[in-house]
Amino acid sequence: MPILTSPASNESAFLAEQFDDIEQQRDAARLGMWIFLATEVLFFGGLFLGYTIYRFTYGHVFMETSRRLDVVLGGTNTAVLLVSSLLMAFAVRAAQLDQRRALVRLLLGTALLGCVFMSIKMVEYHKDYVEHLVPGTHFEWTGADLSNAELFFWIYFAMTGLHAIHVTVGIGVLLVLALLAWRGKFAKGNYNPVEVSGLYWHFVDIVWVFLFPLLYLVGHR
């Protein structure tokens, strides 16, 4: 990807005092975000490990319980997030090319799709609640392996819940970015914040790409 370097006179405005030049600042921000994402992978990793172990132990129960999740809603949400990531990629490009209007629109579009994702997720959670699939005293299951089924739904809520928190944080970041972009804060080569936020948004998207088959599709052949 070509990196656009702007004239030095414009750089001093947003070059932090600890850096020598803008390239060092950009490199540092990118590396910092990648390290943070490595942290996030391990944060989710604990839950993925739990899932793997219990799926291995209670495989047939997980297949049965997985069928109770709504594949259509889950699939729609997958598509929504993938498209939002595409818009985010365009937004980063728009920031690099210093296209303010396009940047604002693309950031808002990405945030909007994030909101669509969350709305569909809430509809799903409500459906699960009505069907008594929320673990705890409210939980009801007619099959044989009641307790193991409850374990599956516990993991389902923990994983999708943690993911939903990340989506919500991401929407907040995108809205702030859109506001700053509208004020022209990312002009003349200062696209760094948009770029690293983009990395975060893609990460959130990728986590869902793993969650969707593991939770929704394991029961289907």
């Binding site: 590396l31 839950l47 673990p135």
Partner: protein, 551 residues
């Protein structure tokens, strides 16, 4: 690497010029600072508070154990005492000690940078740390926690009748401060090095802090998710560690130790880095086997991630897994031993001077060696079954964490104190405190090896009368150790006002941090230094000094 600052100006005028301590004044200038040096000092005060609280808990435990009967505190209070001691010492003192205090202060200067890569995040990490500490203290004030610092399920999720969630939340929150610090250090070391400062010209302290940061970044999130899952399970009544649902409580132990064993290396690697600096400086010699010492730090960080199973030899782990973890645990001893051998070889034919930091460094080598060797006993499957959960384990990890890390922290604090404050601590008092600490430490913890081997289990407030002799010795040692820690607190505070002015480089050390004034200016260097040589070029400097016929 000689510059104009080598000319010592040990006058009060040196203190009156503008530097990072007097450039801005007032509480607000400290609470909103983004200067890595000031943030290091903020951390120093904060961890001092936690150290004092956790020490008081330890003192009460030692007092209780003076007699075989449980007469000073009830067994429930005793459970809370060792929990608060463990939680505060591990997460609120040891883990931030060298990284967040000395690392924050020294890393940017040692690599010739003006600040860390993300100064605002650096300040944020301190606020997060304080918030986590406040939650832990809230839990303590409202009655404390009795699970031990390990929070094992199902006791913590179901049976414990204490403030588990708020304490776990405190640790969870403080974890993010660790993650931010680690991320900041890694980025800083990668991207902010001065011109000419290649990876193999880095001081070994930087290598060890890089290895530590790797662990902070990759292990801490696993602890975070584990404690979150445990707390949610306790709150919600069901969860993934719950056997009623077909969950496995031992999964908690796996996840917990996947963090907490690497965390043991967070609590020793920074100390090893400090020792490398001290040994070279006070034997006036190039480090023996630079590459090996640097690589050993990375090897410890990486191997540290694959040995967690040795905490579960008796927790229903399969014998085959136990054997694999046993072998891997033995392997970690290799890079650790490489370091000890290289330090010893560095001392060989050096011109050694026994100043306070060096006394701590020599103490470290001896105590760390004992701690490391007894670790091999514990990594042996059959021996571990005998001494598991006994005072042998307690003695072992205190030799590493206190005999190792705290000695190194004290050594490093004395070494960089003139740089931090611009003034020298009184040398005689310093030497005395180092000796008292060494003697007190050994008297406290060596008897515990014997106690453990004879079969005294940890975490009990009463014990059979035949164990009393060693417990009395241990308690007596603890009171001596207490004086060893109190003394530096007094003379450090004294030196702030009355200490001799240090000048830029009182130890005639080679690192970049010694080429700038003490205390350093706000952005560390008047002019970005350029590095042309390997670190620790001590003999060359010695010759130059002789030519100048100075001091």
């Amino acid at each position: 690497m000689k510059t104009a600052t080598e000319i010592d100006i040990r006058t009060e005028g040196q203190m009156a010029r503008t530097h990072y301590l007097n450039v801005d004044l007032g509480v607000k200038s400290w609470l909103l600072t983004t200067d890595h040096k000031r943030i290091g000092i903020l951390y120093l005060w904060t961890i001092l508070i936690f150290f004092v609280i956790a020490s008081v808990a330890a003192a009460m435990m030692r007092l209780e154990l003076l007699t075989p009967q449980g007469d000073l505190v009830t067994n429930e209070t005793y459970n809370k005492l060792f929990t608060i001691h463990g939680v505060l010492m591990v997460w609120f003192f040891l883990i931030p000690s060298i990284p967040a205090v000395l690392g924050n202060f020294a890393i940017p200067m040692m690599i010739g940078a003006r600040d860390v890569a993300f100064p605002k995040l650096n300040l944020l990490s301190w606020y997060i740390f304080v918030a986590g500490g406040a939650l832990a203290l809230w839990s303590l004030i409202h009655g404390g926690v009795d699970t031990g610092w390990t929070f094992y399920t199902p006791y913590s999720t179901t049976y414990a009748n204490s403030h588990v969630i708020s304490m776990a939340a405190g640790v969870f929150v403080a974890g993010f401060s660790s993650i931010i610090t680690g991320m900041n250090f890694m980025t800083t070391i990668h991207k902010m090095r001065a011109p000419g400062l290649t990876w193999f010209r880095l001081p070994l302290f930087i290598w060890s802090m890089y290895a530590t940061s790797l662990i902070l970044v990759l292990a801490t999130p696993v602890l975070a998710i584990t404690l979150a899952l445990m707390s949610v399970e306790r709150f919600w009544g069901v969860g993934i560690f719950d056997p009623k649902l077909g969950g496995d409580p031992v999964l908690f132990q796996h996840l917990f130790w996947f963090y907490s064993h690497p965390a043991v290396y967070i609590m020793i690697l920074p100390g090893m880095g400090v020792i490398s600096e001290l040994i070279t400086c006070f034997s006036r010699k190039q480090i023996f086997g630079y590459g090996f010492v640097a690589a050993a730090s990375m090897a410890i960080a990486i191997l540290g991630f694959v040995v967690w199973g040795h905490h579960m030899f008796v927790s229903s782990q399969s014998v085959y897994a136990g054997m694999v973890f046993s072998i891997l645990s033995f392997l970690v001893a290799v890079p650790s031993a490489i370091k000890v051998f290289n330090w010893t070889a560095t001392l060989h034919k050096g011109s050694i001077s026994f100043q306070t930091p060096m006394l701590y460094a020599l103490g470290f080598i001896g105590l760390f060696t004992i701690g490391g060797m007894t670790g091999l006993f514990l990594a042996t499957l059959a021996v571990d079954v005998h001494v598991h959960d006994s005072y042998f384990v307690i003695a072992h990890f205190h030799y590493i964490m206190v005999g190792g890390m705290v000695m190194a922290f004290m050594g490093g604090l004395h070494y960089w104190w003139p740089k931090i404050t611009g003034r020298l601590y009184p040398e005689f008092a310093g030497k005395l405190a180092a000796m008292i600490t060494f003697i007190g430490f050994n008297l406290t913890f060596f008897p515990q090896f014997i106690l453990g081997y004879l079969g005294m289990p940890r975490r009990y407030h009463a014990y059979p009368p035949e164990f009393q002799l060693f417990n009395v010795l241990s308690t007596a040692g603890a009171s001596i150790l207490g004086i060893g820690y109190l003394l530096p607190l007094i003379y450090f505070l004294w030196s702030l006002k009355f200490g001799r002015v240090a000048g830029p480089n009182p130890w005639r050390a080679t690192g970049l941090e010694w080429q700038t004034a003490s205390p350093p200016p706000k952005h560390n260097f008047e002019k970005t230094p350029v590095v042309t040589t390997r670190p620790y070029s001590y003999s060359a400097q010695e010759d130059a000094d002789l030519n100048l016929a100075s001091v």
